[in-house]
Amino acid sequence: MKRVLDTVAVAIAVAVVFPIYWMVLAAVKPAGEIQSLHQRPWTLAPSLDAFRRVLAVNDFGRYFLNSVLVALVVVVLSGVLAFLAAVALTRFRFRLRTTVLVLFLVAQMVPVEALTIPLFFLVRDLGALNTLGSLMLVHTAFTLPFAIWMLRGFVAAVPDELDEAAQLDGASRLTVLWRILFPLVAPGLAATSVFSFIHAWNDFLFARTFIISATDNQTLPMALLVFFKPDQNDWGAIMAASTLMTLPVLVFFLLVRRRLVAGLGGAVKD
């Protein structure tokens, strides 16, 4: 029985990975095989032509850097702000604390997609249309509620006695915050970062709405759509670009796999 289940599990794993395999395969297939009406699930003549087309002709490297820049700024800003807020919500008892907590929970549920219209006008009035800054700002805001909620569990897990002892030894509040709590919460921050990173990295809607004319400031999701053409899609280039877009997240995800689950557990249980 166990052997049957093992086989089923491996078969499912193969099926789940298959689209990713197909994407990478199509990216390295020579142009002739991509156009073929008899696609084979392997290739004997892998080529990097599609990647060259994507990077050299369409300046994909620039969009890649734009995406990285936006995601990194969002991760750092959202991480720091969420850390401060999480400390306030776990280390202190104050009036309205529960109300604030519930507000953060509700904020996670808000369909931010519905806010595209007012945010478009807000960004326009700030003169920030077509800038990467507009994307950094909105995604910092969108990732905050979840980051705060998730970090709360990690801050709560650090024993109170630790910061009390440090204060007795004469450490200032700031020192306690940055020298004691921050390093201890770092693993939680790593898990939170993954979610913020992916949120910013994957964003298609706001990139499409805010970056209208400045093609230099496009991010990956929009740049990818360039290869869809009315007459004939350049599938090799589309798959190469998709692979480039997937790779960083995939590596990131598999590296922090264990922490991610632990972090989710923390956010779920707490």
Binding site: K2, L5, D6, A9, V10, I12, A13, V16, V17, P19, W22, M23, Q35, S36, H38, A82, L84, A85, A88, L89, R91, F94, L105, V106, M109, V110, P111, E113, A114, L115, T116, I117, P118, L137, V138, T140, A141, F142, L144, D163, R173, I198, W201, N202, F204, T209, L220, P221, L224, W235, M239, T243, T246, V249, L250, F253, L254, R257, V261, V268
Partner: protein
Amino acid sequence: MRSRFTPLWLLLPAGIVLAALFAYPMYQLGLISVLDFTQAQVSGGQPTRFVGPDNYTRLLGDGQFWSVLLATVGFAAACVVATLAVGAALAVLLTRISRIPRLLLSLAAMAAWAVPAVSGSTVWMFLFDTDLGFVNQLLGLDGHNWFYGRWSAFTLVGAAVVWAAFPFVMVTLYAGISAIPGSVVEAAALDGATTWRTFWQILVPMLRPVLAIVVIQSIIWDFKIFTQIYVMTRGGGLAGQNLTLNVYAYQQAFASSEYGLGSAIGVVTMLILLAVTLLYLRTLRRSGEPL
């Protein structure tokens, strides 16, 4: 760290960001939805005019809105059910297999989870492409266009969504099941309970808090799917047959310059999800989770 004002200072930065980019836009959304707000107002040619519930009455009297609303609910419901069924089944499967297959399956799921929505959409489009798609060539469906029919297009988008979403359910439920003491399940097995019965009568009740979170999160995610629909059906399908509320609102606003109408659709979406959220909060409180 024990001053009265410290928590305020710590919350302030996050509070400012959320007030400016979350609360204020929500207020603005409501405001625009009761205004006459089209291209003329945006370019500053005409002053905005308060029209009260006009946008809403227009919406409610529009057959397409109801059709889109129905499609959104149906699509989200199908995605949620499929995601939960696949995720739960695989979570249980994970508990009953050897180490190596378990590792392989969780790595595969993690990989699918990590693929950005845009990349995932393009891959599924390529797999089901009319001429060059592997699926058509495999099934011998020469020249069959999957995006032509409303149902088959929705099904395909749904498959891409479930593929990307089941790992979250699987991983979370597996973590929950692993936390249940093995002795409970063993005792049930000794008493002669089948896997099916163990699942429904022991695991499900014990996992209720985790399940609630997974269900609500899935509902919220699937209800507001934008990227997959927009990319895979090229902005809502032939003659808008695959529109969902989010994409519909977007198209009304940014393609037809009907910002007031788009905002009204946004408000409707928000109200529906708010109702779901309140349900969630009630479940949380019932299960006695301290905040």
